[in-house]
C-alpha cells in the first residue's frame, strides 16, 4: 500500500484555515504536526481534526478523509461532515456503484431536472434572451462574423 502524504497535508491545511488559523503553516510546521496524534491539541486554540489515513488514492480527494468501521451486519456510519456536504438525508435511499477506485455512493431519489421549469417560457423566448445577453459580450472582429 502506498501513502498519499499530499492528501493528508492538504487536509490539515484546510482544517486549520477553516478554524481561522492566523497564518499559512510552513512545511516544517506541517511535518511536526503530522507526527502529532490526531485529535491532540497542538496549541491552545488549534486542534488537528483529521485522522491518519494510509490508503491507495486513485481518485481525486476533495476534502477531509474519514474512517468508518463496518459492523458485523455490514453497516457503517457516514460521517456527519460528508452527510452535510453532500446533502444526504436520514431515510434517503442511496445507491452504491463499484468503480475503479472503490465504491461510489450517490443519491438515488428523484433529482431529475427535466420539466422543472416547464411553462417558465418558450424555447424561442429562452433563445432570444440568451442572444440578447450575449450580444453585449460579442467580439466584432473575428473571421467567422457573418
Amino acid at each position: 500500500m502506498s501513502f498519499a502524504p499530499h492528501v493528508y497535508w492538504i487536509t490539515v491545511v484546510k482544517n486549520l484555515m477553516w478554524q481561522g488559523f492566523p497564518r499559512k503553516p510552513t512545511p516544517h510546521m506541517l511535518r511536526t504536526w503530522i507526527h502529532a496524534d490526531a485529535g491532540k491539541f497542538i496549541s491552545s486554540n488549534v486542534r488537528i481534526k483529521v485522522r491518519r489515513t494510509r490508503s491507495v488514492m486513485s481518485e481525486e480527494v476533495l476534502g477531509e478523509v474519514y474512517r468508518s468501521r463496518v459492523t458485523s451486519k455490514g453497516q457503517l456510519t457516514l460521517p456527519k461532515g460528508l452527510r452535510e456536504a453532500y446533502h444526504v438525508h436520514e431515510g434517503e435511499t442511496v445507491i452504491l456503484l463499484p468503480v475503479k477506485g472503490g465504491i461510489l455512493l450517490k443519491h438515488s431519489e428523484d433529482v431529475g431536472l427535466s420539466g422543472l421549469w416547464r411553462g417558465l417560457c418558450t424555447p424561442e423566448e429562452a433563445e432570444k434572451w440568451v442572444e440578447e445577453l450575449r450580444s453585449r459580450w460579442r467580439v466584432k472582429s473575428t473571421s467567422s462574423t457573418p
Binding site: H107, W117, R134
Partner: protein
Amino acid sequence: MESEVYVLDTIGFVSHLLDTLPDKPDRIIERARSYECNVVVPSISLGEAIYVFMKAREVKGGLIHESMIWEMFDRLERGAYLKVEDLDFKDWKRVINLPYRDLHDRMIVTKALGRNATLITNDKEIIESKMVPTLW
C-alpha cells in the same frame, strides 16, 4: 476506463429544464441518469440559465415563483447526472483562438475540447465550425 462525456450548452440545459429537448440529447441525459455516461454543464451555461429565469420573471412577474430556481440548485447539488464545471486555466488559454463571435460560445466549446466531449448544442455557428463533435 473513462466513460463518454457530453457537454450540455445553455440552450440544451434550458431545454432540459423546460422539457423541450429533442430525442437524441434527451436519450443522452437518460443514459447519464443511469450512469452510462457523463454530462457536464459549463458554469457559464448555468449563469445564462439563471439569466433566462430572471428575464422570465421580469416579463411574467409574479407568475414565476422564486422557488423554481432554488429547486433547480438543490437538485443540481444533490443529483449526480449533471455536473456543473468551471473552466480551468488551460481552457481559458484555448478561448483566445476559437473562431466564434460570442465569448460565451468560446467558453462552452473550450470546455468540450478540454473534456474531449461531444457538445450538445443547436448553435449553427458551432456545428458548422466542426471544432468539436456535436449532437442535437
